[in-house]
Assembly symmetry: C2
Homo-oligomer: 317 residues x 2
């Protein structure tokens, strides 16, 4: 029996203690703790790594604090468009959905694409039709609405700022605003049998336009899993993560250079991504149950727990 | 001054000499020859690798014989939806468009996204709005129509076959039908200064549904370029190419294992992709001007030319 492990993230960016209230910090930690517990309980009870990452990400999608599912950010047109991906390290199967609206749990749709279609990636209205066919749960706009995200969007709209919300210099550096930078959630897990999996989900960038797609829906960039190497979920400035093929690069450094999970992630996050202004981070596991959480930004909402009774929940550097 | 090289493809699949007429074979070779000449002329005249791959792919998109731009296949709803991507090995910049309609040259849109937006990937209606804003050329449905592709689609519709047209066993194995398997076009080039680039464009799969996205619009899967390693454009069954992160895997085998371009491509195409039923092939160059064209299917429309006067145009194994 392997050491079993789960690690999750709820986004990275300029998350500074001085901008956070004690209440908000407690809420984020509670959200992470809840998702971690749900995933870990599955691993304890013979659940697969795939089950665990899906369940943990669903918990984070259902939490209004995180930018995925309920509480997703608003695009330029006021719509909430979501992306998600999942990959099973046992057989390299993968499922991806991009630019969908009103799907309660995008990661569940990515899972259904992986398991119920011959395809890896579906997008837009077509993906929604597939979701309907398979009985996935839809919610109306009110379900996804959060006043906090709406106010963020209105503020960006009024400032005339467009797509890259993290490039916008906000006058009021409240905790709420600082937090919005790279809103993504994700999980990576290793089960008792040494199978690993990863999943990522996001509501994208506030005030985004032109149908921009980020790394959360790109296999190899935001998500990757292979029992031989690692399972990775990224969060950060999507464009450099796509150009760096960040998640798969970690896998290649392990497979071809013999690096450890931690060393491989460190090179990608703190060297390769930095060279192309790729701010953010990633979480990962390998098939021995090792886990790592590495970021080059001020903070990353993150947590990990394993069967050796290690248990970490953290936000800042 | 480096050896300068360009290599192009027009798709791979069950392309058999016994199913081909002499006229059709000549037409395909003419199309490849024309695109190759346009790209090569740019390289001879101080054009960049990026200019050359864009121009070669535009030529193939404008040729009704190939499944990209004009002559794209029909999706299940009778629409012609196109994907394209481009990457510059000099600076790792990339541009991608997926699920767009009526854009005359999708690769030009991918290039414009790379050079004129802060994003890498745009999709659907949003991508079309961006294209309008930047004055890209649109065409009506009639421009993209080809009787041949339309008949293919009608035949698949009548057979009740859905998305995976290459899994459909067609009774009439005419050259035309055999050819439709993995319709994609692409180019990779190395210029006099040792800069490399790659581009890929496709009309997708006949009778595809649910907004399926293939590897042609995934950086790392269908397209990748990095001066340190290689520039790659793939064509094949998109799903395994995405799961294998095929293009970037070649780059990693060169960077981390020290393999040659040819050996790295050979491992990915004939070993890694084969293990997950990844039928198809790829073309590639490195920054010394070496080129390779490797496929595991019966044929691949392909061509290459370099400043050492090598000149190849081929279809079958």
């Amino acid at each position: 029996m392997s050491v079993y492990t789960i690690t999750i993230h709820g986004g990275a960016g300029t998350i500074l203690k001085e901008n956070m209230t004690a209440e908000l910090e407690a809420s984020y930690k509670n959200g992470l703790s809840e998702a971690l517990a749900i995933g870990f309980a599955l691993l304890e009870n013979e659940g697969t790594a795939l089950d665990a990452v899906k369940a943990a990400v669903i918990s984070l999608e259902n939490n209004i604090l995180f930018n995925a599912g309920k509480g997703s950010v608003f695009a330029k047109d006021g719509q909430q468009e979501m992306d998600a991906s999942i990959m099973d390290g046992k057989n390299l199967m993968a499922g991806v959905v991009s630019a969908v609206k009103n799907i309660r749990n995008p990661v569940e749709l990515a899972y259904t694409i992986m398991t119920q279609s011959p395809h890896v990636m579906l997008t837009g209205q077509g993906a929604a039709e597939f979701a309907k066919l398979h009985g996935l749960k839809f919610e109306d706009d009110a379900y996804f609405f959060s006043q906090f995200r709406y106010d963020q969007w209105k503020q960006l709209q009024n400032s005339g700022a467009t797509a890259l919300d993290h490039n916008v210099s906000l006058k009021d550096q409240s905790a709420a605003q600082a937090d919005k930078k790279f809103g993504t959630v994700g999980a990576a897990a290793c089960d008792k049998h040494g199978n690993i999996a990863a999943a990522t989900s996001t509501g994208g960038m506030t005030n985004k336009q032109w149908g921009r797609v980020g790394d959360s829906s790109i296999i190899g960039a935001g998500t990757y899993a292979n029992n031989k190497t690692c399972a990775i979920s990224c969060t950060g400035h999507g464009e450099p993560f796509i150009r760096a093929v960040a998640a798969y690069d970690v896998s290649c450094l392990i497979e071809y250079k013999g690096l450890s999970l931690n060393d491989a992630m460190n090179i990608v996050v703190n060297d390769k991504l930095m060279k192309i202004d790729g701010e953010g981070g990633m979480i990962g596991v390998d098939a021995k149950g090792n886990a790592a959480m590495i970021f080059n930004s001020d903070g990353m909402y993150r947590a990990m727990r394993n069967s050796n009774e290690e248990n970490i929940i953290a936000i800042y550097k």
